[in-house]
Point group: C2
Chain length 222, copies 2
């Protein structure tokens, strides 16, 4: 059996996508913590194109980009599938993963901005959330139906991370009662044992995000 390693950083939702996938499939792996503020040779050499975590190692093979890693994991360890069988359902799963990754800079822009610009960023983020609320989940428990899958893992960032970033930045994107389907999904997602047992500690993440927020406030122009 070839060795599996994940290079990650504890505050980032993207390595968590990979960790969750491996846990859901029962694949043993070694986790290596990266210092993204003082990047290791391992990171620079294994992901020279982006220099970002996660990086996935499987024997001599090295893969970057969390969604690309998720597809690789799915194809290499087919047990407990993370994508549906039907090609159209798979396309929908990939469509929403791509939507999230494409919209992410706008979704999280509020965290770097202050004043009127922050207020506008919150509105922009809420427009993205409204599209998700109206088009993505329907009445499903998870993105692809009754079971957690790849799209859910990709959307992990709007759970533990978004709520802590909202608190650190003093805003609320996911206003109560405005996004009932997304709120229900967040609840369902957090109840999955693998998710519940593998996420950053909230108070530690909040301390980190408050520090990051301070840096952004100092450099932001309103």
């Amino acid at each position: 059996m070839e060795e599996v390693k994940v290079l990650g950083f504890w505050t980032s939702p993207y390595p968590h996508r990979v960790i969750w996938a491996l846990k859901l499939k029962g694949v043993k792996y070694e986790y290596i913590e990266e210092d993204i503020y003082n990047k290791s040779d391992l990171l620079l050499q294994s992901n020279p194109v982006h220099k970002k975590v996660p990086v996935f190692f499987h024997g001599g093979k090295i893969i970057a980009e969390s969604t690309v890693i998720l597809e690789y994991i799915e194809e290499t360890w087919p047990q407990n599938p993370l994508l549906p069988n039907d090609p159209y359902a798979r396309a929908m799963a990939r469509f929403w993963m791509k939507f999230l990754d494409d919209k992410k800079p706008n979704l999280l822009a509020f965290f770097r901005k202050i004043g009127d610009e922050q207020a506008k960023a919150v509105k922009d983020a809420q427009e993205i959330m409204t599209i998700l609320e109206q088009h993505s989940l329907g009445e499903n428990k998870f993105f692809n139906g009754d079971e957690i899958g790849m799209t859910d893992l990709a959307f992990g960032l709007i759970t533990f991370w978004l709520e802590v970033m909202e608190e650190a930045a003093g805003v609320q994107v996911l206003e109560v009662n405005r996004f009932p389907r997304l709120q229900a999904w967040i609840k369902n997602f957090k109840e999955v044992p693998v998710i519940k047992e593998n996420h950053p500690d909230k108070s530690r993440l909040l301390t980190y995000m408050k520090e990051r927020r301070e840096v952004h406030v100092k450099t932001a122009t309103s």
Copy 2:
């Protein structure tokens, strides 16, 4: 056999990705030309999230996002595969497709800018091209080896389209002799019969891009 339709716009490289994939697989389809400056009800209703071409119709199923459509086509019509069999090679194919789509706004920013900002945008685009030159193709004829595949189709935009946009904007991103592997790939790509026979007419595309460029010049600030 369920009907296949593609909603596209003649100047856009993204519907061409889909058309090329269908032609390479020998899948018959109907092409519907969209007017993206006066969007049809068909576009607005079939792709309410992005309101962009291409939109792919297969029987009652509707899919948007060209790379998502390519994966669907590959899974639905496995003949003449567009992805390699090996999961790691598939990951590399997807990695570069994602790289291109993520970098595309920076790669093409020169087209909207003038003066110093344009010069900077050209430099930025060349940095992206340098990464591709150094890391993506190696000595391969195509992105995944000897045969054209999904990644090549995705990269179509740096062939016919980029050269016309360069000419319309009066700049050169792909400077002669600086990107020999990419230049060789462009030549190989254009020689594939399905590609050679299915791309916008150069002079018509140039007229269109010159008109677009005029609009950008009028609204640009240097």
